[in-house]
Symmetry: C2
Subunit: 98 residues, 2 copies
């Protein structure tokens, strides 16, 4: 438990992918917005203050990293956090940054 075992290089590659997903202010904004529940791409883009295609790309990064999942209802796609630990990690980072 809680040991810090050495990781293989390919493991670290996957961990780094999560780091990259957390490396952009707009993507962090998305995580904050989704903490209250699922939202559509359009909603997220207005809250983050960017255009829809741009938001779609950011969401693609977050989804590739496994931080969010999507659900389609009619023509609109709703995104949600895939795991509560995602929020834990973000809050930890916020605390570290003070």
């Amino acid at each position: 438990m809680s040991g810090v075992d050495a990781s293989s290089d390919s493991d670290r590659q996957r961990f780094a992918a999560i780091g990259r997903a957390l490396a952009d202010p707009k993507r962090l904004c998305v995580l904050e917005c989704l903490s209250a529940g699922e939202l559509s791409v359009g909603d997220l883009s207005t809250r983050a203050g960017c255009h829809v295609p741009n938001m779609s790309q950011h969401l693609s990064v977050l989804r590739s990293a496994g931080l969010v999942t999507s659900r389609r209802e009619g023509s609109t796609v709703y995104y949600r956090l895939s795991d509560p630990r995602v929020l834990e990690a973000y809050q930890l980072i916020q605390n570290i940054a003070r």
Copy 2:
């Protein structure tokens, strides 16, 4: 506690800086190595399998993000984790990646 308050854009910028620091496999390797205690730049570079100048740059990124601190003893510089929460955050990311 543990509320997810909306952050200002400049706050998210700082949080994202920590994300970027966690976005590289070699830097994650450094965090693993430093989990056991402080190490010199030369030691870290051999463990990460890279050249000393490259490691120095990675350490500069980690230090700018506030994840590590340095201590000079004679001509060698020792780096250590600045906060145990840094390791917590990394372990959380490892768990999320499954």
